[in-house]
Symmetry: C2
Subunit: 713 residues, 2 copies
């Protein structure tokens, strides 16, 4: 929240009158009054009724001024000779008054003339746009971009959740492509950053205080060394407020999610003895997965299922139940859900499909109503269920996971969930949880964040989503959680049409994906660019310790890999330690052949024995001026892949014992044996890839991005 | 080449006088004369010597004009009151003449006054920059960008090889980020594209005709509906011409490369019986690889090596030798190379290191001299050698390849070469050749292109390089070859400092990587963005038939994959068939459940049996309005991965027999069994990836990019 307070009463009055008049936008004078109430600088202006007054008022504003007829009977002021721009002196102002009034009378003899408006003329400096829009998911957003047609063409605009802090606002000035323009190019003056950021903060506060302001444009704002003044204001209102998505208090969310994800007792509604049935798969997964809590099969007839006593209804179960997994057809779900509610079950895992995704919106809304009535949280419907490995819990019909770890994954889509499971097993990626969110009738990404935030078994959270039902809630939670643990998101559906029907300038520039991009960054979320990258990040990021600084050194046996690894560093915003300090350079040189290259990359050359890798990597880990290492291995007979891998793991472990803990990633070039070596390195904490120079660096880049966002660098 | 002819004699005279004066740039009047000679529009101007003449001349130009004192004694014209802008009438021009002359006399009483320059004032329209630079590798390049400081900040500028054709020039107008600005935004007029492109062509011809023009700026050029006029001209010259890199005629290259790559006889200089020696590995690879030509081991003492008669020198070998593989220490290479020259061997494969890469420039230059003297081509030094699989030829010390195919790869770096070999074996990527280019003392990428162009065993050429020693030669050849076969390049070293020391505006904007980007595109080369992408393209692109149109349909079992596949289409410049024609939509709907989504993606939903995939894919292959298919498979019990894979291969084969040949790629989401299915699909001509939605679409995108560049779409 910003600590800025505007004059709310004044704005309320204006908006009330606009509402009473049934209008959907403010007039220019109303817009100016609103700006005044929030300390948003606009040009000085005044209406005068005599030539003498014109000259005094104009002089007090400072020249030049622009003068315009004020008459309800004259709509086309310029046509009527009712506008004079560039009035440069008191005498000219006096003369201009007379001319304008005379012209007006000629134009329309019986026009009611209320006076002449005298307005400060603003120009010079850099034209920028400050605006605000209302997004269905994120709510109020403030926008900033350069003014002018070129910027419109390039769509170079940036967004933040409103209200924006001063820090947010300052980050916006650096957040556009053309940021350099604000710093004073070609000898020009830099703009007054404080004045601009203050304007952004005020606009963001205004739209936050008044939800009915749906869109707003200050366009152009003239930003100069001295300050920032909005030359034109446009405010669009929408008094039809939508009901916000239901959201329980966070403490309640935490309690419920804890019960759901780590249940002491699970009911399986629709448990079955019949192989191939979902209710059978769920039962077997619970049992064979090694879940130690109570398992209660629910079945209308059977007395026992797979060795467990069965009940006709959850209400017949003697003990408390935390989680109910649904494996029954859609039409029976509502009834069973009510019983779960009566039984005070914390959460329903709604595997069944046949709701929103097939057009059965009504059926889904019924479940939502029941959920709220009984205070039972809903996961799904239309999901595969979930895994929580620390409890050996497989509340799903899918095959069991193989590798425990500390990454918690979720997917909106079942297909992507299957890809997560497959990749996890194939790459031996350890997971703490895999959760299907499906139609997200209730539980969504931010509920999961709240649970994983305090889950000691989770160190990284990786989520696939197609939309955020409540982007604002997500952003608020993510901002906090991402300070503690990396939050990675693959946001699909980047090409969805944005605010196509927007009526403001800012609105027209607000692409849906650009908003996600900016808000996710504002929230400290690392955005994965592809499914494979989500999976690579989920696997690699938790293995890396947090770097203590920005200085990275590449140590490579292949010069060619060194070049590509350097490229990847630039692509991923990583900084090579350059120039290498003389003593460090000399120290590296001691270990490498005379024709090798020190500097950075350190090119140890291709024909070197294992000890050269060991010596140089040890030096890289020892020296406190180096904060992370990128290794480029080249397969030779002298240093076979597994010898390299074992040596690297050994030296990293040895140095770790001495307190030298640094992120290390590796790229392996060579014949197929490098795949085994990469797997070995990965299993021992060094993200390593065969035939790729870019992926290991991307993973290191993600860790750095997180550490910076969390304020650890 | 452009078909424009400038007045070369006139420019030659001016440049000769500049050279004689020892200057390194042209004066403004000289620059204008050069422009006149090449029909480059500049403002009309004339020097007058009386007020009356001023008024007549100004009137003939059209108002407004700007007038300036012409005096060798007055450097600071404005300070001297010697400049008047915005002169609007004949009378004003006459008065301005008198004022300027009077001011000049006041400023400096004894100044020699040669007259007053009257110049047409140009303004309005869109400011653009047209320029030219000289690149070490590519030679003359013409540049185009918008004018103004913002463009400088954004570095939104595009390059083409000079001379540029009119088509090249027009592509530049569309090749900048802000291209829309030229089309008339906010109701503005579009610029005159013909006038602008003609200006670009003329500048490009000028710098091509006169190599001594090292840099040139027309900045700004005012482009309007009517035409384009350069308001300011700057020409920088460099009379110290560098000797161009030696380059034999193409016909000679083709003959030599054919002998080298498909030799009838190979000599191994430094052949050895001793395991672990390079000369031993090369011999074994030649023998065990199954090479059917003559093998001549060369050894100072041994009479026989590995069952082959050995010779003391290549000169002792009775028959002709095409290719000599060197496996001897650096210091012996020059001597042996001379003997190869005397023996009229076509090419020397210089495996030995210890030349340019270790600082032994002189040693490498000696080899180059010998090579030219004897007309023997050099591959390397500092390489692993090469493979040419159609001849079963492994002229390398590395392990043998496993899979024959039609992709020809090359790498500048040995490490990257090893990664190619490893990936090829692991992924079963068929190759026709793998070539190490190392120090590129002679043979480089364009020599390989010339060979592969007519090699019937090669359908795709994929190259890794860090620099192009002769970018111009490469571009010329690539432009031709890429029309026949896809040429893919991973250009490493993207962050190399560009023309940092440039003295022109255009030069300062010319980032090295931006030039590569533009010239590679101009040459029809597909640029791979990462090592993995180079390998994925090398593997996948040759499998895909050339699409007959732009309409792509996604058929998916997982809605989530469909969204990500759509995103990937946008990222890769692919166009989905949208809206789906009604009859086609209805036809798809017949095969899918009522809650499935037709449209595009066609979402068949997750629970469907194999026949649903078969029916929809068959329809997609049959209908001629659809040109390519992207499949999204979701692993279920109903349609297991291998069932899906076999069905897809079957239907694609069946339709192929009916003449329905279309590119098909697949993304597989599921448990580990999808990996086997992906491999099966790949081996049967359908590039398929497990756990990735983006890679298969990138491969399809590369094929489309090639087809468009080759004029096939």
């Amino acid at each position: 929240m910003s600590d800025f307070q505007g004059d709310k009463n004044k704005v309320r009055q204006i908006l009330d009158s606009v509402k009473a008049a049934g209008r959907d936008s403010l007039t220019a004078p109303e817009g100016k009054l609103v700006c005044d109430a929030y300390g948003i600088s606009v040009p000085k202006e005044s209406v005068v009724t005599s030539a003498a007054q014109a000259s005094t008022v104009a002089a007090s504003m400072g020249f030049p001024v622009v003068m315009k007829i004020v008459s309800p009977d004259i709509l086309h002021k310029t046509e009527a000779g009712g506008v004079i721009v560039g009035v440069k002196s008191a005498a000219d102002a006096s003369a201009a008054y007379d001319t304008i009034v005379a012209n007006a009378k000629v134009y329309k003899a019986d026009a009611t003339i209320l006076g002449v408006q005298v307005q400060q003329m603003i120009k010079g400096g850099q034209e920028v746009i400050i605006g605000a829009v209302t997004d269905n998911s994120f709510g109020k957003l403030v926008a900033f971009g350069l003014g002018g047609v070129l910027v419109e063409v390039l769509k170079d605009i940036t967004f933040r959740l409103a209200p924006a802090t001063n820090e947010d606002a300052l980050s916006m000035l650096d957040g556009i492509q053309a940021a350099e323009m604000l710093k004073g190019v070609r000898g020009g003056d830099p703009v007054n950053r404080a004045a601009l950021s203050s304007l952004i903060v005020r606009v963001s506060q205004l739209v936050s205080d008044f939800p009915e302001i749906s869109e707003m444009d200050l366009n152009p704002v003239f930003a100069s060394k001295e300050g920032a003044i909005a030359a034109d204001v446009r405010i669009v209102v929408d008094f039809a407020q939508k009901a916000p998505r239901y959201r329980p208090p966070e403490a309640e969310v935490a309690v419920a999610m804890n019960r759901i994800m780590q249940p002491k007792a699970v009911a399986v509604i629709g448990a079955s003895t019949e192989t191939g049935k979902i209710g059978n798969s769920v039962m077997k997964n619970l049992i064979n997965g090694g879940y130690k809590g109570q398992i209660y099969p629910i079945h209308p007839k059977d007395a026992e299922i797979l060795g467990y006593k069965a009940y006709k209804s959850v209400k017949d179960v003697p003990g408390e139940i935390d989680t109910a997994v649904f494996a029954i057809p859609a039409k029976f779900v509502a009834g069973a859900l009510k019983e779960c509610g009566e039984k005070k079950i914390a959460g329903a895992i709604l595997i069944p499909s046949g709701f929103g995704e097939t057009g059965n919106i009504e059926g889904q809304e019924e479940l939502q109503r029941i959920g709220r009535e009984y205070n039972i949280r809903l996961m799904g419907p239309n999901i595969y269920g979930f895994y929580y490995t620390p409890s050996n819990l497989c509340a799903t019909f899918c095959t069991a996971y193989d590798y425990k770890g500390t990454t918690a994954l979720s997917s909106q889509s079942g297909g992507i969930g299957m890809a997560i499971i497959g990749y996890s097993r194939s790459a031996k990626m350890g997971v703490s949880a895999i959760v299907g969110l499906g139609n997200k009738s209730d539980i969504d990404e931010d509920d999961l964040l709240i649970f994983f935030e305090n889950d000691p078994n989770t160190t990284v959270i990786a989520q696939h989503c197609e939309d955020l039902k409540d982007g604002r809630a997500f952003a608020e939670v993510a901002k906090r959680v991402s300070k503690k643990k990396p939050v990675i998101m693959l946001k699909a559906g980047r090409t969805a049409a944005g605010a196509a029907a927007a009526s403001s300038h800012t609105g027209a520039l607000a692409g849906n994906d650009k908003i996600y991009e900016d808000v996710l960054r504002q929230s400290g979320v690392i955005r994965a660019r592809s499914l494979r990258q989500l999976l690579d990040f989920a696997r690699g990021v938790p293995l890396l310790p947090t770097p203590k600084g920005e200085n990275i050194v590449i140590i490579t046996g292949a010069g060619g890999s060194g070049v590509l690894l350097s490229d990847a560093c630039v692509d991923n915003g990583l900084k090579l330690l350059k120039p290498m300090p003389d003593d460090l350079d000399a120290a590296f040189r001691k270990f490498i052949p005379p024709f090798g290259a020190a500097g950075n990359p350190v090119d140890i050359t291709g024909g070197e024995p294992p000890i050269t890798y060991v010596n140089t990597v040890k030096l890289g880990l020892e020296d406190d001026r180096i904060h992370a290492l990128i290794l480029g291995y080249w397969h030779t007979i002298v240093t076979p892949p597994m010898v390299f891998a074992r040596n690297m793991v050994e030296i990293v472990e040895e140095m770790k014992k001495k307190g030298k803990v640094k992120p290390v990633v590796a790229s392996l070039a060579g014949d197929v044996e490098v795949e085994e070596a990469a797997q070995y390195l990965y299993e021992h904490g060094i993200p390593a890839y065969a035939y790729s120079t870019e992926i290991p660096v991307e993973i290191l880049g993600a860790k750095y991005q997180w550490a910076r966002g969390a304020g650890l660098l």
